[in-house]
Amino acid sequence: MDKGMEVLRREVALLNAHLPRKRRSLGELMHEERAEIGCRDGRVHRIHRDELEYLAALIPLERAEQLMLPIFIELTPQLGHGAARISGELECEVAGKILGVGGRSLEQMVIYRPDAWKIRRRLPSATQYAFIAAAGE
């Protein structure tokens, strides 16, 4: 059974290997010809220029340095099946504007599958799924 457990452990560890080693700000990426971010698995993740321009139009110019990309859509069994979380005030503001529920300033936002679908459809490369295991297990 131990070998099987090892495979499973590795599989769970690899779930978040696609996440960036370090997130980069929208302002920083806007100035680069190729907006690329290094991932934990050694790959390079390219963000589409049109998505960066769309994001720049959504938030005030002076806050572009504060918006860190990619935006994480956190999936955790704690929230229940099909629910996801977006953390960060600016990230929530962007998500709210895409979903048409802007106006409130939130630190965290819980969204459901159709919302995640809408956000991913609009920002396929500027957002990433992050898998978070339930705490205390």
């Binding site: 059974m1 599989e11 779930l15 696609h18 390219r46 995640a116 339930a134 297990e137």
Partner: protein, 210 residues
């Protein structure tokens, strides 16, 4: 992976180990299930994009071939071939990747696909305006074809990863977790049995002493 019940040592230590394995497996199962669902969602997302990209590509190609036919009628096919041969064929395409839950999908970007009439390389004196129009439409079609290639490859890679994740989830749900639960039950029953035996033995000893 398969462990026969007879090979299991029904001890408390083994029970604790099995309980830890069950917790880990269930956690992995929940996370993999989330990944599978997210992958399926992405798959359908890209599928709608594929339908749009395919429709657009067919449309622009149809238009381009129509313009090419008109150019052939106006200039003759030989002249069109000559103009095509004179056209530069170098095209700079930048292929990068983006990651969707660990699946590296291609991002194809081409700089300056649509050229000016003077940049195409054929003589403007010997060609007609229909040819310019056809060339312009083919350049547009090329951009649409690159987009289609990107989306199709993304869909193929996502399908493969979805299949792989689905297999893992199913194996955890239908094989690994039930097997661990069986082992847990077996050890628990064995320990309970030992406890009952011990209790009965003590009672017998007590009766003998009395």
């Amino acid at each position: 992976m398969a462990v026969a019940i007879s090979e299991i040592h029904p001890t408390r230590g083994e029970l604790l180990k099995t309980l830890r394995q069950i917790t880990l497996t269930k956690r992995g199962y929940e996370l993999l299930k989330e990944k599978r669902d997210a992958l399926v969602m992405e798959f359908f997302n890209v599928l709608t994009q594929l339908e749009d990209a395919r429709k657009r590509t067919y449309e622009v190609l149809r238009e381009a071939y129509r313009s090419l036919s008109l150019a052939m009628v106006a200039m003759g096919s030989l002249e069109v071939r000559k103009a095509a041969a004179a056209t530069g064929i170098e095209l700079e395409i930048d292929i990068a990747t983006r990651s969707i839950m660990g699946v590296a999908v291609p991002v194809i970007e081409a700089q300056k696909l649509e050229r000016k009439v003077t940049e195409r390389g054929y003589s403007l004196v010997q060609t007609s305006a229909e040819l310019d129009l056809a060339a312009k439409k083919f350049e547009k079609a090329l951009a649409a074809m690159l987009k289609l290639a990107e989306v199709e490859e993304t869909l193929r890679l996502l399908a493969r990863e979805t299949e792989r994740t689905k297999r893992r989830v199913n194996s955890l749900e239908h094989v690994v977790i039930p097997r661990l639960e069986t082992i847990k039950k077996f050890i628990e029953r064995h320990l309970e049995e030992l406890e009952r035996e011990n209790f009965f033995r003590l009672k017998r000893i007590k009766a003998m002493i009395a």
